[in-house]
């Protein structure tokens, strides 16, 4: 099996690839992790990962700059139903629109917009930067065997914007930060995390392993 990590110049590409390799090895999976900017390779992969770090508009520009990539992502993920994992801004890009600095079109896979976090407690700092626990709203195969809730494992967040989902059924987990902040979204064969699994130590590697085993 092959997991394609889409290379469009995103900063966390290297760490994401290493975390997927490690998670596959630890789980005893014979998975080939391919970092690629070739749309044909993405189309031929069994799973697709879109990493992302930085500003929404800049990431969108990076993705647009890879000729044919967006069309292939639509074809592979939406039409052919390959399991897809968006990380941080890679997850936010699934929304219809982003509102970081400028309004930018997203992929439109998850109904909703990416907007600034506004915690109810004015003493809470933005960015939401650090470790937080996850509150699950519905079960999801990516969370299999992972302790969530107040006494659960922690995930590493570093973001000022979040994906506000229009359809609450797409929300899998939130993190409490002056109100619930979107942590995991899922819809059919697509899933995304606002936090960085590649930087979330145990929780992150377990979640990536679950993705590699996922058969939606």
């Amino acid at each position: 099996m092959t997991t394609a990590i889409v290379d469009y110049g995103s900063g966390n590409l290297h760490s994401a690839a290493k975390a997927f390799e490690r998670a596959a090895r630890d789980a005893g999976l014979n998975e080939r992790v391919l970092v690629t900017n070739d749309p044909k390779a993405v189309a031929g992969a069994d799973r697709v990962v879109l990493p992302g770090v930085g500003a929404f508009a800049d990431c969108r520009r990076g993705l647009d700059a890879v000729a044919g990539m967006i069309e292939v992502l639509d074809e592979t993920v939406i039409k052919r139903g390959r399991p897809f994992f968006g990380i941080c801004v890679g997850m936010q890009l699934m929304a219809e629109r982003g509102r970081e600095y400028v309004v930018t079109q997203g992929l439109g896979w998850i109904k909703g917009e990416v907007d600034r976090i506004t915690p109810s407690d004015p003493d809470l700092k933005i960015p939401h930067m650090g470790w937080n626990t996850l509150d699950t709203l519905r079960p999801h195969p990516l969370l299999n065997g992972i302790a969530t809730g107040a006494n659960g494992l922690h995930a590493y967040f570093v973001h000022s914007y979040q994906l506000g989902v229009a359809d609450k059924g797409d929300l899998v987990a939130t993190a409490e930060y002056g109100g619930p902040v979107t942590a995991i979204v899922g819809h059919d064969n697509i899933v995304g995390t606002q936090f960085h699994p590649e930087k979330s130590q145990r929780l992150g590697l377990a979640l990536i392993a679950n993705f590699l085993k996922w058969k939606p």
Partner: protein, 258 residues
């Protein structure tokens, strides 16, 4: 629940840890990657590398260190020291850094902070502030920004400068008291609190940690959201785990994942 962060900081020169890390039985105490692995295992919430390489030809050594660290540790990493251009930031992020810390370059050219935040997002742009108290006894507290390890005064007021860089897109402030750095007498709480209360982004308190209570004070009294320390961890006085358990016992929310 959101947790307080404890961040060990390693000074790296020409790809090696300065003075070495003596807290564990490392095969090579000078290898930053080995130290990073040990801190990762000890439960550090983030790791900070400060590159103090002086010579231009050795500047690339930090990229190798960051790359190898990101291959071995799945934890957040901030890298600072000599970050002057958008290209420097891009290279560090591509190697696996999550955040970069900008110090002198932000003092000399404030627009750099804005360019960096717009390009990479405010969440990965840390501005490091080295401040020294300049008010005299009996006067209202005033701190000034110094560069070059505290040698060069800039005339800039620390609190006003912090507000300015945040308005330009700094996502976090790494605040070091040059008066306290290396003294083990605790953070400059008045400085930390004045900056933390004056801005909307997280503040990492730094400079002066000598005991575990100092870490608690930085959060509780200084209103920082994270604490950074070097020597108390490097020389084995306390482990990161001990520090976090002490802070948890004092009532602070800490991540104590097994």
């Amino acid at each position: 629940m959101f947790k307080v962060r404890v961040i060990p900081c390693l000074d790296v020169k020409d790809g090696r840890v300065v003075k070495g890390v003596k807290f564990l039985d490392l095969r090579d105490a000078g290898d930053p990657v080995e130290a990073a692995i040990a801190y990762d295992a000890a439960g550090a919430d983030e790791l900070c590398f400060l590159d103090i390489t002086a010579s231009h030809e050795n500047r690339d050594t930090i990229y190798d260190v960051v790359t190898r660290t990101a291959e071995a540790c799945f934890m957040p990493l901030t890298v600072g020291g000599g970050v002057r251009t958008v290209e420097d930031i891009r290279k560090l992020l591509n190697c696996g850094a999550d955040k970069v810390s900008i110090n002198t370059a932000a003092v000399t050219r404030r627009a750099f902070v804005k360019e960096a935040a717009e390009k990479f997002g405010d969440q990965c742009i840390v501005v490091a502030i080295d401040a020294k108290k300049v008010s005299k006894l009996g006067e209202k507290n005033r701190w000034e920004i110094f560069t070059h390890g505290g040698r060069n005064p800039t005339g800039l007021d620390a609190i006003e400068y912090a507000k300015e860089v945040v308005s330009l897109g700094a996502g976090e402030i790494l605040l070091t008291s040059m008066d306290r750095d290396g003294t083990k007498s605790g953070f400059d709480i008045a400085l930390t609190r004045a900056v933390a209360d004056g801005i909307t982004v997280p503040v990492i308190a730094s400079g002066g940690v000598g005991s575990l209570d100092h870490l608690v004070d930085g959060i509780r009294e200084g209103h920082a959201t994270a604490v950074l320390a070097a020597s108390i961890f490097h020389f084995g006085e306390y482990s990161v785990r001990q520090a976090k358990e002490h802070m948890a016992a004092a009532g602070l929310p800490m991540r104590l994942d097994p």
